[in-house]
């Protein structure tokens, strides 16, 4: 079943990228997609416990999350430009420091999404993930926000948990 899903995704990519719809190219694409899907079926869907339906739910819940993320990126950019352009603000606000926090997320992909989201939101960048400890570099005290201070889960982590684990 996972092989079939991999095949469908690969075939979609082939159709998109080749742009030719005659029999020769379609057959070539079908054969190569089938081969790749058979050889590397365990690469794309790493976790086997989760079913396809749950994955579709994740993809569906990912859409509103990415809209929120886009809004956050725009805010982050205005923050960066503000810091970059005004000379005095840079001197006053900039106070870089590195902190760590522990996450409750289980799966690797959820951690990856959380790390990328931390990078794209204002003032914080993920440096590395050791198992479930995140090392984060924040550009100012204010930017670190509730990632640094909260005892349980920060707002972003709650959102990612909602997408991937289905709890609020």
């Amino acid at each position: 079943m996972f092989t079939l899903a991999t095949f469908i995704i690969l075939a979609g990519a082939w159709l998109l990228l080749s742009g030719k719809f005659d029999a020769f190219h379609l057959a070539l694409g079908g054969i190569s997609c089938l081969l790749v899907a058979l050889i590397s079926q365990d690469l794309l869907f790493h976790e086997r416990k989760k079913g396809l339906a749950a994955r579709c739910g994740e993809a569906f819940r990912f859409l509103p999350y990415s809209c929120w993320l886009l809004y956050q990126i725009i805010v982050a950019n205005f923050h960066v430009i503000q810091l970059a352009i005004s000379p005095r603000l840079c001197e006053r606000e900039l106070d870089p420091h590195i902190f760590t926090f522990k996450t409750r997320l289980k799966s690797d992909f959820a951690k990856f999404v959380l790390a990328n989201s931390i990078t794209l939101t204002p003032g914080t960048v993920t440096i590395r993930i050791d198992e479930d400890v995140f090392h984060v570099h924040a550009i100012s005290r204010k930017a670190a926000g509730d990632l640094e201070t909260s005892e349980t889960m920060s707002e972003m982590e709650r959102r990612v948990a909602w997408v991937f684990e289905g709890r609020a």
Binding site: L16, N77, A84, L94, P96, H97, H137
Partner: protein
């Protein structure tokens, strides 16, 4: 009408890219430079490419839609890859023990962490 939307998107993208470049030149250490690079680069690329994809739909046909979907594919890829590359570069610096720039503490205004640390030491 479409042209105005395209122009708006691309001008916004150029503006954000300008901010990113200035940030990369002006920020004091490489961690903060990566802040600018990771965020500004992603958003400005997304905006510029979205403008180009929209302009491509100018003459509507199957081929044009296919090309626009390809540009959308690049957008999605950059959206995933740019923060990941940022992590990789940052991790390399962290591993190589590059010190991060700390604000010079003037005696006049102690930074907020100082207060907290003193409180922790003498509770």
């Amino acid at each position: 009408m479409l042209n105005i939307v395209v122009m708006g998107l691309m001008l916004l993208g150029l503006f954000f890219f300008f901010g990113t470049s200035v940030g990369i030149v002006r920020f004091p250490d490489f961690y903060s430079r990566l802040h600018a690079a990771g965020k500004g680069d992603t958003l400005s690329s997304i905006l510029l490419l979205a403008g180009l994809a929209l302009y491509n739909l100018h003459h509507l046909s199957v081929d044009a839609i296919l090309v626009s979907v390809k540009i959308l594919f690049i957008i999605v890829f950059i959206f995933i890859a740019s923060p990941t590359a940022t992590h990789a570069i940052m991790d390399a610096g962290y591993e190589a023990r590059v010190k991060h720039w700390v604000k010079r503490k003037t005696p006049k205004e102690p930074w907020p962490g100082e207060e907290r640390r003193r409180q922790e030491r003498h509770p």
